[in-house]
């Protein structure tokens, strides 16, 4: 129960979602609870969650070429030896190659642990307002939870909660005021799983550190 409360409520992300949209906050909260219980009703809430993720994200084209892109592409094509110009065109200008690059960028941004635990510090992105999500003290528990889940047999919903949002986010991008919130249930559930390993004799120290770190990240977020 304690691990559930910590993973669900001891983070700034859920409050940010609630502050901007109460309805979305409820949806994220309930989806996470249902995923923790490994209930099939999770899928009922997960689908609208994904829908909101798509709707609230500013989706730039994956193949459009801006003026600056054009400048870089032209410059790069000029660097190819004449006999490889055709290959250069394939690698630099073809829509497939632009699509691949942008999808991969989105994908790798979404699987960066620094995004979820350090507000993307030390590599903040240009043009995106980074914000604090989970306190960094929960990172080891998240990793432990993931490793535990991988060893489990019954992990279908957990896998779905990771792979489907990740695929969608890779395509639609990361320009969203709430962040990649469709991954919140996966993150919280993995942290919850890891926290179960926390021994009761260490609980007091853990709480003190957690509170201090929460004060720290709240301070950062406010300033």
């Amino acid at each position: 129960m304690i691990s559930l409360l910590i993973s669900l409520l001891a983070n700034l992300w859920i409050y940010k979602i609630f502050a901007i949209s109460f309805f979305l906050g409820i949806l994220v909260f309930l989806a996470t609870v249902l995923l923790i219980k490994n209930s099939k009703f999770f899928l009922l809430l997960f689908v609208p969650l994904l829908f909101f993720q798509i709707q609230t994200t500013n989706r730039p084209s994956l193949t459009a070429i801006s003026n600056d892109d054009r400048r870089v592409i032209d410059m790069r094509i000029r660097s190819y030896p004449p006999k490889f110009l055709r290959l250069g065109y394939w690698l630099e200008e073809r829509k497939e190659s632009l699509f691949f690059n942008r999808v991969a960028t989105n994908l790798f941004e979404n699987i960066d642990p620094n995004l979820y635990f350090f507000s993307n510090h030390p590599r903040e992105r240009v043009g995106i307002r980074e914000f604090e999500k989970f306190p960094y003290i929960l990172l080891p528990f998240f990793l432990l939870g993931v490793l535990n889940f991988v060893s489990k047999k019954n992990k279908l919903f957990w896998l779905i909660s990771f792979l489907i949002p990740l695929t969608i986010l890779s395509i639609i991008g990361n320009k969203n005021n709430f962040g990649p919130f469709s991954l919140f249930p996966f993150m919280a559930v993995s942290i919850n799983e890891g926290l179960k390993k926390l021994q009761t004799k260490h609980l007091k120290i853990f709480f003190i550190v957690l509170v201090l770190v929460l004060i720290q990240i709240v301070s950062y977020e406010i300033s």
């Binding site: 000029r78 699987i111 030390p122 590599r123 950062y220």
Partner: protein, 557 residues
């Protein structure tokens, strides 16, 4: 059995040949240019050959002062051999690093062969293939990076440490090499201790007293400390931590801690913890390792990370495999090495520095290889054609990034154009040149390198104050005057009244300044993109004085 051994030897030889090709092909021309640190190493090696002293006239320096770098000197000392053999050329300066890269592939094979972390007999070969072909190791083998030489030394030391589990004698050369590595790269001053500590904790925790009493261990520790005495004597000197202190993110921690609504006694450690951990974690983030790479353009490839993007999947699988087998001592050792290689770079303010964390490429190659083996064992039918496709794709992406884009768009960052500027200076030997240093990294050493300026003469123009206080006077003055050139900022009120050629980058001398002061463009050097790297303007003091009615006092001199 013999056939299997032969097969392994043939495959290993092929991988080493590939490694040799990837590290030496067009080594003198790609990267396109000569970075200032490379020039400093090369010129100091040349200086050692010619005079037995460095550019400041110091015999056997413990740190190489070059401007204010105070870099470990080993690379420059060893480069004397390649400079002696090939002459003072770009190839000669990069030779030791490239050779280290090739030798590393072999040492990595020997290490993995000595580790009991997988039942699969191909793990050493797969690891060495991954290691030899990832952009991370190729890139740093193709520039004169001291870190690559240090990497080779500590890797041999690790191999010897593994042998010492059976024969204690090997502790002695291992500890000697670890001590020597501290003269090869700054981070190794800490990393070497961490390696020893990890090794003792993992393999000798239960019989540490027995080991400590052994004569091999005592000799090893003594040699380890004796070799470092020259450094210890300078430990409280500003030169010892000159570089490190400038890289720590102290200011950032201070400003962050001031934001926290808690007393300073708590807020400062909290701020430090978050800063450190965020840096530490970033070294294991797939985003950095497999896609974006190092943000420093001089230490990264255009459009690709230090490892191939598809390796992110075997990396995650490999990490899981490592976790599952966490009670295995060899697995623990790999894990400890991984942490040791990141503990120091995470203290510096550059995020994800692939140079400082270069040895991390070794455990990561093992992890990726473990992942590949696991994936292949699960998806046997599909995996072989897929792997062949991925290898071909990786080859194409690497060729595009390293051999096409890097020499073109990163030439300027790599110090492109100094060889051509040196040529201009040589051809116009009757003219005086003034090189504007406002936006340039110390140009004197680049020009001394390409002009092959006699080191004894350069030593004679060094400020005697700097010479006498080599380790304590850390201030660097960019003003040099040798041959027919001078390096400093242009002083417009004075320099236009002297017959000379003013040289700068595209912003140093504007067209309106050229018109106002009757300057005549005599040459321009452009990078492959077409942007001006250097432009030279000849002054016309007589014309300037005539047109300004001899207003300036410099007209009367």
């Amino acid at each position: 059995m013999k056939l299997a051994k032969l097969k392994e030897t043939v495959l290993l030889s092929l991988i080493i040949l590939l490694s040799l090709f990837l590290r030496f092909y067009k080594l003198g021309s790609i990267p396109n240019g000569l970075y200032v640190d490379e020039a400093a190493i090369g010129y100091n090696a040349y200086s050692f050959i010619e005079t037995g002293k460095d550019e400041y006239g110091k015999i056997l320096p413990v740190f190489l002062r070059s401007y204010e770098a105070y870099a470990p000197p080993l690379y420059a000392y060893i480069s004397t051999l390649s400079v002696l053999f090939f002459g003072l050329t770009v190839f000669a300066v990069r030779f030791i690093s490239a050779l280290s890269g090739v030798l590393l592939t072999f040492v990595v094979f020997k290490i993995v062969k000595n580790l009991d972390i997988s039942k699969n007999k191909y793990l050493p070969l797969i690891t060495v293939f991954v290691f030899a072909t990832i952009p991370w190791t190729i890139f740093f083998s193709r520039g004169s990076y001291e870190a690559n030489l240090a990497f080779l030394i500590i890797t041999i030391a690790i191999y010897l440490l593994l042998l010492a589990r059976e024969k204690r004698f090997y502790l002695i050369p291992a500890f000697v090499l670890l001590a020597i590595s501290t003269y090869a790269y700054q981070a190794e001053r800490v990393v070497s201790y961490l390696i020893i500590l990890s090794y003792l904790i993992i393999y000798f925790r239960k019989n540490i007293t027995h080991l400590v009493k052994s004569k091999e261990f005592v000799i090893s520790i003594l040699l380890f400390l004796i070799i470092q005495i020259p450094q210890f004597t300078l430990a409280f000197n500003s030169s010892f931590n000159m570089r490190a202190s400038g890289l720590f993110y102290g200011e950032r921690i201070k400003s962050q801690s001031e934001k926290i609504f808690l007393p300073r006694l708590i807020s400062y450690p909290l701020s430090l913890t978050r800063e450190y951990l965020s840096n530490f974690v970033s070294y294991f983030s797939p985003r950095n390792i497999f896609w974006e790479g190092d943000p420093d353009k001089q230490r990264s490839l255009p459009g690709m990370g230090p490892m191939y993007f598809w390796m992110a999947i075997p990396y995650l699988v490999g990490l899981y495999m490592l976790f599952k087998d966490r009670k295995n001592k060899d697995v623990l050792f790999i894990f400890f090495l991984m942490v040791s290689f990141v503990l120091v770079p995470a203290l510096t303010k550059d995020p994800f520095s692939t140079l400082r964390s270069l040895p991390l490429s070794f455990p990561l190659s093992i992890i990726v290889s473990l992942g590949i083996i696991k994936i292949v064992s699960v998806f046997r039918k599909f995996s072989y054609p897929l792997i062949i496709i991925l290898i071909i794709l990786s080859g194409i992406f690497f060729w595009r990034s390293y051999f096409v884009l890097l020499p073109y768009e990163r030439a300027r960052i790599w110090g492109y154009g100094y060889d051509k500027l040196a040529e201009e200076i040589k051809v116009k030997r009757d003219m005086e040149f003034l090189i504007d240093t406002a936006r340039l990294k110390p140009p004197y050493v680049e020009l001394a390198f390409f002009l092959k300026y006699p080191p004894a003469k350069l030593q004679s123009v060094v400020d005697p104050e700097v010479k006498d206080n080599y380790y304590t006077n850390t201030k660097f003055d960019n003003h040099y005057k040798f041959a027919n050139l001078e390096t400093r900022n242009i002083e417009w009120e004075r320099d236009i009244y002297k017959e000379q050629i003013l040289v700068g980058d595209e912003f140093a001398i504007s067209p309106s300044q050229a018109k106002e002061h009757f300057l005549t463009k005599v040459f321009e050097i452009r990078d492959p993109v077409g942007e001006i790297v250097f432009v030279g303007y000849k002054t016309s003091p007589t014309l300037k004085c005539l047109r300004t009615n001899f207003e300036s006092i410099y007209c009367k001199i």
